[in-house]
């Protein structure tokens, strides 16, 4: 019975470390919300849940309902009945973000309001006129969109720097929805006369125009699998470490803090458990490597990828050391590193996609101007500029710049004594520079996540052998090394975490993004718990909801179209986020674990899991 209890307790701790604690700490919750915010949050949560449900049920919805198909450069097929729901979700997102913009600092408010105004004018431009006379006609859709846009600008000016009021969101929503309903309604009426269904092409136009604004969220979502894998690794080791004694549970200290012989039998067993677990995982990692290299089965490890992968690990380790020196202190712990992930991932994602917002603005502007009668030839320059901003070269330059900038920023932050964030930024910086290299060099760089995993695993095993040989392999170090081994597995196999979802949905990219969005929605709302003059708490909540609802709506659109790139290829961006941010986070976590292992630190160890 004792064994069963111990296993039960370990599983409970694992579950707590992996699921309960991150959700408890990171969920959206009332932290002194003003009156009237709660109903808006309820609306946002319902909208988010509805969009997730649409994604999960997309294959069944498609099978059960008629599909509306439009054929152009790509084929777009949608279950026609759910299209109004997609428009509704988009309009909700716009209303949420504009409601947030009312109370943001001026420059951010200008950017967000400018984008909302462009979207409204763009929706209005869909009303070309009953006779199809085109842009020169002044149509009700255009007029209403201008009135709504002006009203939003006035509202933003009047309410700027005032406190949140409950009526702001319904007022903004009413303005946005009125403009959308008039424009979409008239556009539908005009198309129907020609036997055409306006819905899917309009939805496609809207999604391809503004869907790109969900890219930063998708990039950040891509890191969720890695984050989850790291949490799983640390939670597993944390669960193994802890003995079910009242003392151990109350102090949250691993058994290795005291000499094993002085502890009860149940506690003395923990190092054995750790040792067995370490040996098993080490055997698994070595066997997998041998199978991959000798028989070509299992992990896809190319021996040619190993040298550069080792160099990448080396460079990050070097940067780790430089940052510690710059700080004049020891290296950051894994919990410290992970605690900065949420605040780092999204801004980095925005920086990596910094050209997208101008591209969206240009595309919207061109369409609005053309609809108002400007000669398309006159706006050709804007399209050329938009194309240039989306070119491989522009992307490579941005990645290089962001990569170098992040490394510089990491050093500056470390000099100011910051811990955790610099290490994370440096690792991401290295990977960002690497991601630019294939475009610049026009050649694939020989490294891969499985190869990195091999380097991490082998280094960890060598480290363990060296420490054992020097009789310094304590239970705590063993636990840390076991964490490093599990992290190496996470580097190689983290995609598997999204596999059950991808089997349901039928597309791994979709599953990866959905996993990221849902996990982020559940655990990344800690930013809404804060408050500041520039970003008041209600604004944070509204922005969080807007980002989540819009991202998952774009994904739902792709899922219902059974084409993840129907609007914008979120899948590719999430994969990129996983490859860049996810790999960087895992390597940063590995560095933290190695640094802790190597340190002669004899502090009373705490859980390796960030609470």
């Amino acid at each position: 019975m004792r064994a069963v209890r111990r296993i039960g307790a370990a599983l409970t701790r694992f579950w707590s470390g992996l699921i309960s604690t991150p959700i408890r700490d990171g969920r959206l919750r009332d932290t002194g919300w003003p009156a009237g915010l709660r109903p808006v949050v309820v609306v946002g949560v319902v909208a988010f849940s509805l969009a997730v449900l649409l994604i999960l049920l997309a294959p069944a919805i498609r099978a059960a309902s008629p599909l509306s198909v439009s054929v152009g450069a790509t084929v777009l097929s949608l279950p026609r009945l759910v299209l109004p729901t997609i428009f509704w979700l988009i309009i909700l997102s716009i209303a949420l973000v504009q409601s947030a913009a009312l109370h943001l600092r001026a420059r951010t408010a200008v950017v967000l309001t400018g984008m909302t105004v462009l979207v409204l004018l763009f929706l209005g431009s869909l009303d070309l006129g009953a006779d199809g006379e085109g842009g020169l006609g002044v149509t009700p859709g255009k007029v209403v969109s201008i009135v709504a846009a002006l009203a939003l600008v006035v509202l933003t000016v009047v309410r700027h720097r005032r406190g949140f009021a409950w009526w702001e969101f319904p007022a903004v929503l009413a303005l946005v929805a009125t403009a959308a309903i008039v424009a979409l309604g008239r556009s539908a009426e005009q198309s129907a006369a020609f036997g055409l269904d306006f819905g899917p092409p309009t939805a496609s136009l809207v999604m391809s125009s503004i869907g790109q604004l969900a890219v930063p969220a998708a990039l950040a979502a891509g890191v969720a699998v890695a984050e989850f894998a790291i949490t799983a690794a640390t939670a597993a080791v944390g669960a193994l470490q802890k003995a079910p004694t009242p003392a151990a549970e109350s102090t949250d200290a691993p058994a290795a803090a005291a000499p094993p012989t002085s502890l009860p039998p149940a506690v003395r067993a923990v190092p054995v458990l750790l040792l067995v677990a370490f040996l098993l995982v080490a055997a698994w990692r070595v066997a997998e490597l041998l199978l991959a290299l000798l028989l070509g089965v299992g992990a896809n490890v190319d021996p040619g990828d190993l040298p550069l992968s080792a160099a990448i690990v080396g460079v990050i380790a070097l940067l780790w050391w430089v940052l510690a020196r710059a700080r004049g202190d020891s290296a950051a712990r894994i919990s410290t590193v992970m605690s900065h992930l949420d605040s780092v991932a999204f801004p980095v994602a925005v920086a990596l996609t910094v050209t997208l917002a101008p591209v969206v603005a240009l595309l919207l502007l061109v369409q609005v101007l053309n609809a108002w009668g400007l000669d398309p030839a006159a706006t050709g320059g804007a399209l050329v500029l938009a194309d240039a901003l989306r070119s491989s070269l522009a992307l490579a330059v941005v990645r290089l710049g962001v990569g170098l900038g992040l490394i510089v920023l990491a050093v500056l932050l470390a000099r100011r004594g910051r811990r955790g964030a610099p290490e994370l930024l440096a690792a991401i910086g290295v990977l960002a520079i690497l991601s630019a290299a294939p475009s610049v060099l026009e050649s694939r760089l020989p490294w891969s996540s499985p190869a990195l995993a091999v380097v991490v695993a082998l280094t960890t095993i060598v480290l363990a052998v060296a420490l054992a040989a020097r009789r310094r392999l304590t239970a705590r170090r063993l636990a840390l090394l076991l964490t490093a081994l599990l992290l190496s597995a996470a580097a190689a196999w983290r995609d598997v975490l999204a596999d059950p979802l991808s089997a349901v949905i039928g597309a791994s990219g979709l599953a990866l993004v959905l996993f990221g969005f849902v996990w982020g929605f559940l655990t990344d709302a800690d930013i809404t718990h804060g408050d500041s003059r520039a970003y008041p708490r209600p604004t944070r909540v509204l922005l969080f909801l807007a980002n989540a609802v819009f991202g998952v709506t774009v994904l739902a659109y792709g899922a219902l179209a059974r084409s993840v790139d129907a609007g914008i290829d979120l899948d590719a961006f999430a994969q990129f986020g996983d490859q860049l941010l996810g790999t960087a986070v895992i390597l940063a976590a590995v560095m933290a674990v190695w640094a802790a292992t190597m340190s002669a630190d004899s502090r009373a160890p705490r859980s390796t899991v960030a609470p």
């Binding site: 009332d30 009237g36 109903p39 054929v71 406190g163 959308a180 055409l196 819905g199 991808s502 008041p536």
Partner: protein
Amino acid sequence: MDPDSALPATVAPRSARWLAAIMVPLVVLVAGIGLDAVDQIAPEPLGGESARYIPPDGHRTVLRDSAGALVVAEHSRSVGLEGLLAAPPAVAAAVLARLGDEEARTAQWWRVTRTDDLGTTTTDLYRLSTDGVAQVAAWGGAVGFVFEPELLLLPAVVRAGDAWRASGSALADGALTYDAESTAFAATGPFTGVEGAEVPLTGGCIGVDSSVRIAAPTDALETVLVDATVWCPGRGAVWSSGTVDGQSVGQAEERPVAVAALDRGLPPVDAVAEATGLAAPQPLPLVVIDPFFGERDGSVQFALPPVALADGRIVVANDRGDDLQWWRLEAQRAELDAAAHPGGTVIALAAIGDGVAATTAQRAVVAYDGWGRRLWQWRGPELILAPPLAVPRADGPPDVLVADRGGQVTLLAGDTGSPRWSVALGADARAPLELVGDAVVISDERGRVQALELADGAVRWRVDAGFVEGAAAAPDGSAVALQLDSGDLAVLSAVDGDERFSARYPGIARSLIVTADAVLALSDERLLALSAVDGSELWRDRGGLALLGAGLGAGDPVVVLDADGLRLHAGRDGALLDEQRLDPPPVSATRRAVVAGSAVVIVDSDGRVTRSVLR
């Protein structure tokens, strides 16, 4: 920040909380209702109770006439002006003038196109209205009609014993007049065809005895049609028998799974042996010839990439009316050779032997012969986005391999459309199918690429290659090249899927060709030629819209389609052999091209067709 912004909910005015709790969901709900209200859904079908006799869009009827000839009829249903787009201008103008713009926008149409054993195609246009089902016009035959008022075939409510009559003009300005009398009768049968087979009467059929006299006021020309027609729900007219000017006519529905293909009889067009140049691009006006109404310009929108047939014709999907069209490229113009309506929007097209297979929004695969006669159709569980693949057979017409979006791969018998085997990929299918020897290579949305045995669909090999944008097989079937969305270009062995070599390409993937000695990958930024042996770079040039192989032999030239021109490159070293300028397409149009025989045919989605002959 206002002091009240940070007020905890507990001290906020209770009225504000109540108002928020009511108003926020209310406005959200009203916005949703508003969006739903303005969303256009398909209107309720007009035609009263008689609408139930009208076949759905895309339905096929096979009829055998009293002479023993087989007639394949296709049914089209549409709403609004779209219903008139296929009609000759004289017909469309007359109908529009009579109905008026407003009524024409909401009119509900039923169009029946019949093709007989001789390849003769005739079309009847009907309108469903509150009055019932009435014939509007007929064209394609030796005589055409435009009925004004419309010739009522079935009143909105019709019972055995009901009688009705109509009279009016049968051609514009009363050049022909009509006078019709009809009486409904209980269709209890039996009704048999010319071969004695009984036509099944299902769902409550009704018969109509009618007499139609068509006369020319200016001369003594008069035609009298007397017949009895049986209508069955969802099937249209399934049996008829009568006389035309005393001569017996009639037809009866048959229900074969498939119709045998008829040879179109056009000779194959040879490809140019060693192209070294491109002739100046020549615009080809599209012309539709009607035996009665004469020639008219073709008003079309090409939504899909065109398909070239061995006889030099191109097949396109016309977005206006969702029709398949076979265009014959003559010296100075393109003439419509045949047309068909598979039903719903056409999604993908492929040449299958001498025929064509189309996939549609009705989740169907529809096969046609060279005359545009529908041979068979098969419905799957999901849309089929990738063009069907012809799988040659030694003992008959090629089979048709399709992969639906849901990942179901099915091999259909080429002669009947019945599935030979079907397997699930376990993920959504992604890129086009590629035939590699006796296997087919297909990729999915989980980043896997697999080769399936053509014999039974068994997996020969499966690799995690990434997300595939395009695939092409080596001419000898030894390898398959993949253009991945990651910017990688990978060449895999067809035997076991092992990677032979890989390379990078910049930009967005457009086309991929594998010749005997090279792998040619085109993106919007680069044309890259690699050695098929070891992947070493042979040459490079700027990108384009599409890459067309003039041949697949070693060193054969390739044609690159740009937005504003065509380039002919030597396959061996990439040397620019020739270049021709094209007028750029409108911003809203998509430009595509296909090699048809010895010519490159450029097709813009707005209906422009241009030809440049390889020489």
